[in-house]
Amino acid sequence: MQIKESSEVYDVIIVGSGAGGGMATKQLADAGLNVAVVEAGPFFDPKDPKTMTQFKWAYESPRRGAGTDRAFGEWDMSYGDWEVEGEPYTHAKGTEFKWWRSRMLGGRTNHWGRISLRFGPKDFKGKTRDGHGDDWPIGYEDVKPYYDKVDKLIGVYGTNEGLENDPDGFFLPPPKPRLHELFYINGAKKSNVPVIPGRLSMLTKKINDDRGVCFYCGQCNRSCSVYADFSAGSCLIFPAQKSGGRVKIFVNSMVREVTTNAEGKATGVSYISKDDRKEYKLKAKVVVLAASACSSARILLNSKSKQHPNGLGNSSDLVGRYLHDSTGADRAGFVPKLMNRKVSYNEDGTGGMHVYSPWWGDNSKLDFPRGYHIEVGGGMGNPNYGFGLNPNEFNKFFGLKVGGYGDGLRKDVKKYYGSIVGMAGRGEAIARKENYCEIDPTTVDQYGIPVLKFNYKWSDFEINQAKHMHDTFEEIIHNMGGIPLGDKPTKEQDYGLHKPGEIIHEVGTTRMGNDPKTSVTNKFQQLHDVDNVFIVDAGPFVSQADKNCTWTILALSWRASDYIIEQLKAQNI
């Protein structure tokens, strides 16, 4: 079979259409460049009634919303989760990593929690701060102008609180707290845990005429049909096309490798079309990888040539190394004061928390070096599969029998509806060279592309942090007059620390730095080894903060795009 090669030479090929790829598409196309976006999944537009799940009721499906086909429930707008059919990954013995992939235009931005936190000044200088990990080659002052622009372009609600490491921004006003959130605020304050309005990229107020305003259905994970939440397709790629940009989108196209010439410079990409299972080539002056931290590392490692025998950009042998996910631990409590609620009103709110706790601790006095924030959940939710599976379980807290049958079950369901408050800690892990992904030469996916093998272990720092999370959760639950549910996880259970990859914030596989021996890209996310290849997903992150990574991906992708435009103008690449 001959590889089919297109004669058109694009200015830029962007691999992946999520946060990083979407932002690069918007900036590069707006600058007049001819852009090809190559996406492994199908086309997706949140407003297409055929794929839309927003406002669907449980009873519209025979499985009532259960998560058989989609890990976060069948309304969740992600095609693919930790398992993608025909696209396996493997593990080094005794290690764990769960790798989420969303195969669709817009990628994971279609279903994510929209928690949009800037990194703070301390987050870019970890090593200076406590000796662990490394400093970034850039600081908050380098990224701040881009965070500001992202806030205004995409929209995020929140408040300026003047906090040192949780910087102010250009926020839309937040929604008022829900009932359980008022309980959380009171409970947290008793333990001196600060609580401030949430920071999420949903439009509580109009920002332009192209996007709708939030109508509070609480379903951002289903992707908003009026574009009132941020998804890369609806907020970046479609607007880039609408304003006349030259954007050609190749969907169902799984990139295999970056192609190079005799000088070792990138010439484009080769990809497998999922429609006919044939290999194609596209040519461009610049290749931008935005396939997600691990997918971009995989593409680089699979791009071996005479000039790049160790994979593209991998002379440092660091591609795939320093992989790290956020830490996570969760706990819920039953709060008797939230029983017997009036159902007179709709409290769906935005698709996520209206309040949260940024990190408050002093790590110099703790047995782990980095912080975490607390996300809050609860309320009178939309019933889906799982609702009432053990309808009167909480009877046990009142010395009443659990189980039975009959009309009383209706009363039990209503009595306990909305009486649970959940907390999720999401924290910073230390980036370690020993945690990595590499190519597993023994296994290929259904497109014949060698797959990733993961090698990842938590250290005591992350485990101790999870213990601290659970201690805090229990204290806050008690402060709310509540009872923690389930047993507190033990040391043997790593204190309930989620497996690596489960928080879906993986970063670090192509980290940036000034020294080509200890980093993969420079501070503009350009490969040290090949000047016309850039990486704009979370791969170049030197460290994850106790923040979610998307807002920083967006800011850095914009920054890298400005640099690409500048370098092309100067004819440096």
């Binding site: 025979p62 086909d69 006003p173 107020k205 109508f215 009036k342 009178m380 599976l389 009959g406 369901v413």
Partner: protein, 241 residues
């Protein structure tokens, strides 16, 4: 098994089915055609499924797990568990038996407990009353249920007798099936899943639960009368509109 554990099992069960490991299709050529037809017909009310997901649903629909008698027994038991009540009906109006049949195929790890439990129910009813469960009187049905409807909360459910596990599963599926249905959601009184404008918890609800809004906090929140005015800021990030 506690609720968290049982949910985990449900999720794990779901994952196993999703990878096709436990998928046991007995599709014939004829039913394959029916499946294709059904997909074409239901694409209008697609509920957001991908073609592959829809195909899997139609394949499950084409399979039969329970016999007609089983389904009648499930119906009979479900209305004992959650008797119908005006004006929002009960398990039959909520489609609970069909839901249970689908779920037992969708999450095949549940099937042995359900199929075996139904057999146990008839055996018990035959032994005690000389009739199958579905034909027993309400009083007889209740006498049987009374013996299996309480589980020991201190012992993992998986270590308790099959009939106890069966009843626990049937009660859970009946309640979740009812409250995820149109009539059940009406009975619950849930007011969401529709566009609206959130402007905080009503005062009577705050009073009922003994909490109050902090005026300083509320001052920072969205004034909903300005939601359709385009946002502009000064250089410091103060909202001007």
């Amino acid at each position: 098994m506690d609720r968290r554990k049982s949910l985990q099992t449900l999720i794990l069960g779901g994952a196993a089915a999703g990878t096709g490991m436990a998928f046991n299709s007995c599709t014939t050529k004829e039913s394959a055609e029916t499946i294709t037809e059904n997909i074409a017909e239901s694409s209008e009310h697609y509920f957001g499924r991908t073609p592959a997901e829809l195909e899997r649903i139609e394949k499950l629909n084409a399979e039969q797990l329970f016999t007609e008698h089983d389904m009648e027994t499930i119906e009979a038991l479900s209305v004992v568990i959650l008797p119908p009540k005006e004006p929002h009906g009960g398990p039959i109006e909520a489609g609970v038996p069909e839901f249970i049949e689908f779920i037992a195929k969708d999450m095949p790890y549940m099937a042995p407990t359900l199929v075996g439990g139904l057999m146990w129910l008839d055996h018990k009813s035959n032994t005690d009353y000389g009739t199958e469960f579905k034909s027993a009187t309400l009083a007889q049905k209740k006498e049987i249920c009374d013996q299996i409807c309480w589980h020991d909360t201190e012992v993992p459910l998986s270590e308790q007798p099959l009939e106890i596990q069966f009843f626990f599963m049937m009660r859970g599926l009946t309640v979740t099936g009812y409250y995820t249905s149109k009539v059940g959601i009406a009975d619950l009184g849930y007011k969401g899943n529709q566009p609206n404008v959130w402007d905080g918890v009503p005062q009577d609800v705050l009073d009922q639960h003994g909490v109050a809004y902090d005026p300083e906090w509320i001052a920072k929140c969205i004034d909903q009368s300005t939601r359709n005015t385009i946002a502009t800021w000064d250089d410091k990030g103060n909202l001007l509109t």
